[in-house]
Every structure is written in C-alpha cells, then in structure tokens.
Subunit: 148 residues, 2 copies
DNA sequence: TTTCATGTAACTTATGATGTTTCATAAATA
DNA sequence: TATTTATGAAACATCATAAGTTACATGAAA
C-alpha cells in the first residue's frame, strides 16, 4: 500500500528553512527532496494557507518560515497536509443493512478512532524545535555525486 | 489514499460462514462481496495458510471455518492479511545521513509504533463471536435487485 | 524590460491493488 | 470412465490515484 511521505518531507524542509536567512525557492526545495518544483508548491501551499510559511514571488522570492519552530507542532503540519485518514484500513460497504457488516465495521472503527486519537495527541506534543536541537549548522541541500 | 477493506470483508464472510452447514464456494462469496472469485481465493488463501479456514476442491467443495469464532481475534485476521503497515504515513529517505531527516523520522516513527501497538492490542481483545451475537439467523448473500 | 519567482490548470506517468482469463488439478457423481 | 464442479496458480488487463510534468499567467526585483 502506498505511503505518503509529505509530513516527513515537509518537517525536514521547515527545519532546514529555519537555518536560512534567505527564502528557499521551490526549485531548491525540489532538488533537496528529489522531486518537482510544482509538487513542492502544491504541498507548501497547504502550509501557507495555515500561516506556517509565506511565499514571495519574483526576484529573491521563495518560501520562508512565518513563525518560530517552537510554535509549530507535528500535529499542525499533519493537519495542514489535509487528506483525512492515517490508516490504510478501510471499511466494506457492500451490505450496509447487514447487521454483521455493521458490527464488524463498528468494531474496526472503534479501534481506528482510538488509535488515531493517540497518534494525534502525540503529534501535538512535539514542537519542531525539538527535532532541530544540536544540528544548527547542518547544510541545506547537501547534494552528493553518489546520490547519497 | 486508497483503502484496504480486506479485513472488514473477511470478517464479514467468516461470521456468515459460521452460520452455514455446507462449504461456501469462492463464487458465492464473490457475489456477496461484489467481486471476483479469484480475488476471494487469493485473500482466503492467507486465512487457510494460518489455519482459520479450510478449502476443499471438487463437487460440494469450497471454504469452511476451521475453528470456532471464539478462537479467532481481529488481530489474527489482520495478521493473516499480511501487508505490513496500517498507516498511510511514510518516512522520507532522500538524505538518510542528514541528522534532521533522522530526527524527524525518528519522531514520527515513535508515534506510529505506539499507535500501532495500541491498535493491535485492541484487535487482539476482540474475538469474532462477539461480533456475531444476536444475528444468528441473518442470511448469507442476501441479494437484492436494487443492489442493496 | 528582462529575469526570476510563485500560482494554477491541464495533462501524463508510475504504481499497485483489483479484476479477468486461462488452464491445471482434484474430487464427487452419474 | 466421463462429466461436472470446485480450488490453485500464473499471466495479463484494468482502474484509481498520487506524483510528476508542461505550459502559461502573474507579480516583483533588478
Ligand atoms: S537535506 Fe537535510 S541535509 Fe540534505
Ligand atoms: S451479507 Fe451480511 S448480509 Fe448480505
């Protein structure tokens, strides 16, 4: 089942951005993530809409952090990615009036809801500055010829 | 992100099977799930490998429960589906030596592991007979012309 | 006015689950 | 023994959708 690594990638980007004095362009970020500038814009747009980053057009433009890392949590970024459920597990809906299907789905759903609640609670407890401690001077976009 | 409803579907099937006296054919189950007999065989094969169901070829053959519903848990069936992680969230691996990526992935991973542990624990607490109580006489493969 | 950047829409590609076809194998039945 | 009915398994096709790409408009700085 396909994985969504946007959360991981965006956290990584945001923390590196905190160490820069100039805005990071979509192209620069795209190279860092080994992807495409338009994909970066699409994903960063969600963060901008929530106020975590700002974007500036034109010469010298690009993306900048809009607040301190200590004011942003994993949950904030997770939520900004939109995109509903964190689980690959879904419910059947072939016989929505069958009491067995209903009972089965209810049981699964109960567990998913509880597990997701725990996950979100933990995400809320982690601010991004906690992930950056001790690495203040590590370079953004450390490209290696070996492809790292 | 795509959902995997095999767990829900198989639980539904198993509980209905418990109410039958004869084996259920792949074709019958496929109709119930609005899918293809080969898909059913593929999924049921995982359950057979773990000993929860048996399959019999030829005339009068098909699939049967190999043990009581009270001896099977949601976790058992979940595990029999194989297929690793329950989360749509993945980790980045573009810069595996970057301490920030490492710290980010570690933080996410810690949370996922804890949430998954809770989920598996809850799945282990639910035996299938608990989901069937009170519905003993509900018919398998209740086909409706309206498509239900 | 040229260059550099984001914004956005439309389109293409890649991936993986799901579905399908086909044939081999095995068991009951006539 | 021949026929019917079932699973087993491999090979292939389809579908959904996330990711990637192209193209062009917009806006800001030099
Ligand atoms: S990106 Fe964190 S270092 Fe290359
Ligand atoms: S299947 Fe549970 S009833 Fe049609």
């Amino acid at each position: 089942m396909r994985k969504d690594s946007r959360l991981s990638r965006m956290l990584h980007v945001l923390i590196h951005m905190d160490q820069l004095d100039a805005p990071a362009t979509s192209e620069k970020i795209a190279k860092m993530l080994n992807t495409n500038p338009v994909v970066v814009r699409r994903t960063m747009a969600g963060l901008r809409d929530k106020g975590y980053v700002t974007s500036v057009k034109g010469h010298g433009g690009g993306w900048s952090l809009a607040m301190a890392l200590s004011d942003i949590t994993l949950l904030d970024i997770h939520n900004a990615m939109g995109d509903s459920s964190v689980f690959t597990i879904g419910l059947s809906d072939e016989h929505t009036s069958c009491p067995i299907e209903i009972a089965v789905n209810q049981a699964i759903s109960d567990v998913l809801i509880e597990a997701e609640a725990l996950l979100l609670e933990r995400f809320r407890d982690v601010t991004l500055d906690k992930l950056a401690v001790g690495f203040a001077d590590y370079p953004l976009n450390q490209q290696t010829s070996s492809g790292e």
